[in-house]
């Protein structure tokens, strides 16, 4: 880590300011390590590219996500005006792919956040309290992990019936927390045995205080890196659900574009790009999150690598 700097004694500094200083220095260090890590940078560049695409979609995409074009027939193959052709409703596929970035990113990030929050809460409680509560939670976790995840998601998605953006985020978030819970629990079990927890107990800190102020901050780097990997998984889940026609109804996502292409036999009618391009987008975005997540994991949790 960075060089320790002596803070001048005498000049009073508010505890908030002190904490902010420490935090910003830590973040700066992590930033430097990321900048010097080739894997992390490749991942980051991919992520920045897609984030840009998502934000700039209204300006880059020539047509709206669900806007019929006037200068081509439905299902017309690629030409100069429509680089990937048009689909069965006469929507421009090139524009659809660009707009699809938004849904994939939003769903991926928010669903992973939901899953991480639930998983972290379960992992913290289960690992710290232990006893029968841990037993019950972990058995429930086993059950959720054992039921094929695709079935679990489809059933929950079917229950919600009409899926809007919030719906699909909840479906993926509510079914995807089990792995996080397990990872966090393992980490908490080892943190619980550390000296600072015992010290906290000695001076009479409450359990809530120990968990929130000592265990959680120490587990946070792991949780954060894990969340980024969960984003990748969530994006994949969304694409599978969309392919099964179970995603956001009134918007376009990559999985849905592939589903429509598949239903209209894009390959036989000479519109391979219709299937290939959105698929490649998913692959690259997920690749970016994986690369960044793994590299960050190595930077944030160096001890785990050198077991």
């Amino acid at each position: 880590m960075g060089t320790a700097q002596v803070v001048k004694v005498g000049r009073p500094i508010s505890p908030f300011r002190a904490r902010a200083t420490v935090l910003s220095r830590k973040l700066w260090n992590i930033g430097l390590q990321v900048a010097h890590n080739r894997t992390a940078m490749i991942g980051l560049i991919i992520l920045v590219f897609f984030t840009f695409l998502a934000f700039a979609a209204p300006w880059i995409a020539p047509y709206g996500p669900l806007q019929a074009v006037t200068d081509a027939f439905p299902l017309s193959p690629p030409d100069a005006l429509h680089p990937f052709g048009t689909n069965q409703f006469d929507y421009d596929i090139y524009s659809q792919v660009i707009w699809g970035t938004q849904i994939s990113l939003i769903v991926g990030v928010l669903a992973a956040t939901v899953a991480s929050v639930i998983g972290t809460a379960v992992g913290l409680v289960s690992g710290f309290i232990g006893g029968w509560i841990d037993e019950v939670m972990m058995r429930f976790n086993d059950v959720v992990l054992s039921i094929p995840w695709l079935v679990l998601m489809i059933v929950v998605a079917a229950r919600l019936n009409y899926l809007d953006l919030v719906g699909i985020i909840l479906v993926i978030g509510l079914t995807g927390w089990s792995v996080t819970a397990r990872v966090v629990r393992t980490q908490v079990l080892s943190l619980k045995e550390r000296m600072f927890v015992e010290r906290g107990r000695m001076i009479g800190s409450s359990n809530a205080h120990i968990v929130l102020r000592h265990i959680f901050p120490n587990a946070f780097p792991l949780i954060f890196a894990n969340t980024i990997l969960t984003v990748a998984v969530s994006i994949l889940s969304e694409s599978v659900l969309a392919f099964l026609n179970l995603s956001v109804k009134n918007n376009v996502s990559w999985g849905r574009v592939i589903a429509e292409a598949y239903q209209h036999d894009a390959l036989t009618i000479g519109m391979a790009a219709w299937i290939i391009v959105p698929g490649l987008c998913i692959v690259f975005l997920v690749f970016g999150f994986y690369l960044f997540g793994y590299a960050l994991d190595e930077i944030l949790n160096p001890r785990l690598r050198r077991r």
């Binding site: 058995r139 694409s239 390959l267």
Partner: protein
Amino acid sequence: MVARRLVNAGITIFGIICLNYLLIRLMPGDPSLSIVPRDPKFRGFRDYVIAFFGLDRPQWEQFGIYLQKLFTLDWGTSYQYRRPVADILFHDLGWTLLLVGTSTVITILIGIAIGSYAAVRRGKPFDFVSTGLGIFLYGMPIFWLGLVLQSLFRKNSVVQGWIPWWPTLPTSGYFDDRLIPWNWDLLHVSDAFLHLLLPAATLSLGTLAGISLVMRNSLIDVMTEDFVTTARAKGLSPRQVLRRHILPNGMPPMVSLIALDIAFVLGGAYQVEIIFRYQGIGFRTIEAIGSLDYPLLQFIIVIGGVAVVLANLVSDFLLLWLDPRIKIS
């Protein structure tokens, strides 16, 4: 230790059975619709069907009947196929096991080979390429991979224009429709093998990366241990060090990973079965969800869950046998 594992597995299976019932009944829709058309003039018949299948009884009573049927192996008749659920399940299970089994064996063999070679050549081009490619494949939606492979190997595919001898492989079903009914002769077996190629390749490619990446990391972890240095110091060849010291110690994490992966592989198998119209457990499950075929659905999901639990149990025992140190902790 062993007893505890067994009890836990039992509890988990019971949990799956309960959650499964809850999940299915929570799904919206009217299951009788897969038997009776939606038309007012069939209302009487519909009421009769609902009463016949006991769908009008209180939930706890239905749950009791469900448990009783589950344990007495009297699994009832599918609404949609009008055939005994057990027959359908065992027929499909065989085909799914063939698909998942083939691809798991392929994946484990190739994954371990690639992973250990990458670990040995750490930091060299092979390691860099295989790891990068691995993460890339790991992020590929399996259904999309299946579509791409289909497009490459279908009749008149683009590749055939460039390479004349490029093969055409069947892309749907488990054997050619013209060969129905199934017989155990060379013609059927070879045809089933051809039909298995693409689905198994898709599933293997989709799950290969997980195995090879973990194998690589696990071996690299072991390589930093002191006993490896000792083995080198006493003059063993690199090959001997790898085979006698590194591999045996790198295997245990792999065993638990492969077992944990079964759930993931099943999820992938569901996608592959849909894309390739390979009518195994996954294909049938998705179909049954669509038509709310309660009898079929409730046992088909339990089978998947129980398979995962059993795989984990087997891996636990395998680990105990492979690594006696675990007993102590």
